[in-house]
Each structure stands twice: as C-alpha cells, then as structure tokens.
C-alpha cells in the first residue's frame, strides 16, 4: 500500500486534557479518508498537527513519507488545505485573495486563478471583496485556495460547512472525481457520518482524542445494526415462537417485535412463512436499517464510554 498520509501515535496534550491521544492513521494514495467526530473530539487539532501548525506532544505525522515539520517548506507544494471556517483578506476581492495564494505557492501559470474561479463557480463574485461574500461563497473561496495548485494531498476540515445542498453534492462529486481520476488523497473531517459515508472510502471515528474505530465504508455498513420489525395481533405468541426457532426478539415501545439473528434481515420471507403457518400472520414486516447517525452515536457510546 502506497501510504500518503500517516500518523504514528500522534498526541497533543494540554496539561491534563488529551486533545489527541495516540492516533495512528494510514491513508493510501487515492483514498478519501473520512475523519469523524463530535465537536471537540480532536479532528481539527489532528489536522493542525498534519499541517505543522501545532507541534505534537508525542508521536509524528508524515505526508508522502516526509515527517511533518514547519521548516520543511517543500512538502507543502503538494498539499492543499482548509482548516475550520475559511477566512480571507476581507478588503481584497476573490481574485486578489487567490492571486496572493498563487504567488505564495510559486505557481507561474497566471491563468490558474481564472480556472479555479470558474471551477468553483465563483465567476460572478470574482471582483467582489471577500467580506461581502455569503458564507457559502466564502467556503468556495476557501476550497479554491486549497485546490488552486492541483495538490496531490487534500486536508479538509469540515469543507461542507455553510454550503447549500447543491453545493454539498457538487463538492462531494468534485472530491470523488479528484480521488478516482487524479489519485488525489483526501483527508476530510466532519461530524456528519451520513454525508461522509457517501463518498469516503474509509472512515475513522475519533472521540475525546482517541481513535475509536477505523473501517472501510463496506465494513461499516456490515457492522451497522439492522433488524426486522414485525407487527402481528399476538405479539407475545409470535415472539415466543420466533425465539424457539432461534431468533433474537425484543419488544419495542411502539409495540413492534424487533427480530435479529439467523436470516431475519437477509431472508425475511422465511420468517414470514413461519409466522403465517403458525397463525401469527404479520400485518407489518419491515427491514429496519440502523441509520448512520445512530450507528455513529452507538460507537461513541459503547467504545468511547470505556475511556
């Protein structure tokens, strides 16, 4: 595996507060790594350490195999980033703000400013001063600054903040395109699992500074709790029957049987047949998938609670 972004026991402690604690991550080339956590979980501190803005208390991070060090300016040529709310020089226009970044990134191609303005759909705001931009367009300008030099590595801290639904879809498609077609490695933090899971290839969940779980999106799908919901006239009788047949059954507050285990979710027709033949014809039979937010909170609750 060609590891592009790597952290080894990366830690940042502020006195007794462990903002980030022994986080080890490996992100391969072309991967989109979703870094998920609640506010204050340690996402931004991790990204700041990856960018050399904050020195780790212990551990280290590497980009393209080079140890992150603020003095090593060459390594930033291939890195585009956006940390927290993107701010720009308020009295300068969109074009001027991008021109500053173009010069500081030694990009000789002057046309790149016009190109990124077009790509980020900022054409009509090119000469608008940054302080007059809407939150969504300020976010687009922040992304434009991160992407102006066609970086091979993207470190993005909640890039969808402030964007409208169309903008979120657009960014998602753009990042997927960059990863798939150009092999751009993306490390993206968010607190919305539903959004991240739509395009990330791997997801890490951080809570109270510790990495609780790391898995591919497919593995995560498998570990989500799914069940079959059943409603019949005689819930107790049906429940007893299903338990005898090896299913795990719980009665919910909504007067539904939640059935898991065996083939309950994968082949609900089998169970339906059992119920009908035994005189417990179901009036409702529904496969219920645990939604992503519930899954996320469950992981934090169970694994994070151990700490």
């Amino acid at each position: 595996m060609d590891t592009v972004i790597k952290t080894e026991n990366l830690s940042k402690h502020y006195g007794r507060l462990k903002a980030v604690d022994r986080v080890s991550i490996n992100v391969a080339k072309g991967e989109i790594y979703g870094f998920l956590g609640l506010n204050g979980a340690g996402k931004t501190t991790t990204i700041r350490m990856l960018l050399g803005l904050v020195a780790p208390t212990a551990g280290a991070s590497y980009l393209n195999g080079i140890k992150v060090c603020p003095g090593n300016t060459d390594m930033w040529k291939d890195v585009g980033y956006l940390v927290e709310v993107p701010y720009s020089y308020p009295d300068l226009s969109v074009r001027e703000n991008l021109e500053i970044i173009r010069r500081l990134r030694f990009i000789s191609e002057k046309n790149c400013v016009a190109r990124i303005i077009e790509d980020m759909k900022l054409d009509q705001y090119a000469d608008v001063i940054a302080k007059n931009l809407s939150q969504g367009n300020a976010q687009r300008l922040g992304l434009a600054k991160a992407l102006i030099h066609n970086p091979g590595i993207l470190l993005l801290d909640e890039p969808a903040n402030g964007l409208d639904p169309a903008g979120i879809v657009e960014i998602r498609e753009m990042l997927t395109d960059l990863a798939v077609n150009r092999g751009v490695t993306t490390f993206i933090s968010s607190h919305i699992l539903g959004e991240i899971s739509k395009f990330a290839t791997r997801i890490g969940i951080i809570h109270k500074g510790s990495l609780l779980q790391e898995s591919s999106v497919h593995e995560m799908e498998r570990s989500r709790k799914n069940c079959l919901q059943v409603r019949t006239k005689d819930l107790n009788g049906a429940g007893t029957l299903l338990e005898k047949r090896g299913y795990k059954v719980t009665l919910t507050e909504e007067n539904l049987l939640e059935v898991t285990g065996k083939d309950a979710v994968s082949e609900p027709e089998n169970m339906s047949e059992i119920l009908v033949r035994s005189g417990f014809a179901p009036s409702l039979l529904k496969v219920e998938e645990e939604d992503l937010e519930t899954f996320f909170l469950r992981v934090i609750d169970t694994k994070g609670g151990v700490k």
């Binding site: 700041r48 960018l51 050399g52 803005l53 904050v54 020195a55 603020p70 003095g71 300016t73 060459d74 930033w76 040529k77 890195v79 980033y81 940390v83 927290e84 709310v85 701010y87 720009s88 020089y89 308020p90 009295d91 300068l92 001027e96 021109e99 500053i100 970044i101 010069r103 500081l104 990134r105 030694f106 600054k145």
Partner: protein, 262 residues
C-alpha cells in the same frame, strides 16, 4: 530569495489595497499642515485672536522661523515616528490574526521566516514613508507660510538629522511585532506603545542618566533633541538600540516558526 520576493509582493498588494496605508499617509500630511498653520498663527497672532485654544498653542512657539519650526518638526517625528511605526506594525502583523487568515500562510512553499521578513520590510518602508510625508509636507507648508531664516545648508543638515532619527525610531518596531504576534491582537501592543512613550518621557525628564541605555530614548539623544540635561549617546546606546531591534525581529520569526498556531 524567490520566497522572500513572493512574500514581499503579496505584502505590497495587501498594503496598497488597504485603506490603512492611505489613511496614515493623509494623517501624517495633515499633522504637517497643522504644524505649518500653527507657525502661521504664531507669526500673525491676530488671525486666531478669537480662539483661545489656538492662540495659546501658538504662543508656546517662541519664534515663528525655520529653526524653531524644524526643531518642533524633529520632536514630532520622534513621537509620531514611534506611534506611527507601532500602529503600522500592529496592523501588518495583527491583521493576520484579526482577519483569521494566519493559518492560510503557515503551510506554504514560502517559509514563515520569509513572510516575517517581508512583513518587517514593508513595516519599515511604510513607517519611513509616513515620516517622509511629514517632512515634505511640513517643509512645503513652511514655505507657503513664508517663515524666516531659510538657508539651504540648514535644511539639508536638518533633513539628514531627521532621516537618521526617523530610521532609528522606526527600527524599534520589532518588539511591537513580537508582542502583536504573541497576543494575537491589537490591545496589548497598543498598551506597549503607550507605555514606552510614557517611560521615555519619564526617563528623559527624571532619569536622564538611564536615557543612553533605554532603547526608546536613544533616537532623541542621537538626534540631539533630548535637551541639554541629557547625556550624549555612547557606543552602548547604539549597541542596545541595535540588539533590541534584532531581538524583536528574531523573537517574531521564532514565534512564527515554533509556537503553536491556533
């Protein structure tokens, strides 16, 4: 060099596009014009006989001639030079924090040192430009007011003293840049500038023996406007002034390089 050049160009862009540059230039020109007008009132007291405030100020001026005017101008340059360069420093370094764009310029192919260096160069040039405007506008106003005692030689000599004392005053902007970066805001460095101005006055009046060793009092000693009661600047004075400026710059560069940037 490439990094410094790129950083310098962007700092020039930011400065030229800001209102601050033009406001400070206008302010310094305005001060010069007001000084000239005060000389006019001192020369013709009947102009302001109905205004007690103006006539009182004008009466403080012993003679309405070029030597008095230039001595006043030098005093103003030392005070305004310190204040002006301080404000420019706070703005150039502090805006990265107040505009919250600091993080955008820390992980770039241009080194942080080059950014600090380019900011320092711009601060120096901008501050000197302010004092140059003060000098040119004051001389122009003095000519319009038709003050007595003009000689080419005295003006040339004054211009060189003015330039030297201005440059020495401006050199002391670096501790302000360090405090601005550490505090990540405007309030503490403003307090520091005010404090240095007050302490300089106290040293100049009550602790004259210390003045050759107090960095902010040294430019006045070197330019000869500190008054006859003050000792002359010595070799240590030059050293202290230089080392204060260097330490301020090195501290600012080290802060950018090593401190956690949140």
């Amino acid at each position: 060099m490439k990094g410094f050049y790129a950083a310098l160009i962007t700092e020039i862009m930011k400065a030229v596009k800001s209102k601050m540059l033009w406001i400070t230039l206008l302010f310094f020109a305005f001060i010069a014009v007001m000084m000239g007008l005060l000389m006019l009132v001192a020369k013709h007291p009947e102009i302001a006989e109905n205004s007690a405030i103006i006539s009182t100020k004008a009466s403080l001026i012993s003679k309405a001639d070029w030597p008095t005017y230039l001595a006043l101008l030098l005093q103003m340059a030392l005070v305004l030079g310190s204040l002006g360069s301080g404000i420019v420093t706070i703005w150039i370094f502090g805006r990265e924090y107040s505009d919250r764009v600091i993080k955008d310029i820390l992980a770039l192919p241009v080194s942080r040192f080059n950014i600090v260096l380019s900011k320092s160069v711009i601060t120096f040039v901008w501050s000197f430009l302010l004092l140059l405007i003060l000098l040119v506008a004051a001389i122009f106003t003095g000519m319009l007011v038709k003050l007595d005692g003009w000689t080419n030689q005295s003006i040339i000599q004054f211009a060189s003293t003015f330039t030297a004392s201005s440059l020495l005053t401006i050199l002391l902007f670096t501790p302000v840049s360090l405090i601005t970066c550490i505090s990540r805001g405007y309030l503490l460095p403003v307090g520091f500038i005010i404090l240095t101005m007050i302490v300089t006055q106290l040293v100049g009046v009550g602790l004259t023996a210390v003045s050759p060793y107090f960095p902010w009092a040294i430019p006045a000693l070197i330019s000869g406007v500190a008054g006859p009661g003050n000792p002359e600047a010595n070799i240590f004075s030059w050293f202290i002034l230089g080392i204060t400026s260097l330490l301020g710059f090195a501290g600012t560069a080290a802060w950018w390089r090593y401190a956690d940037q949140h």
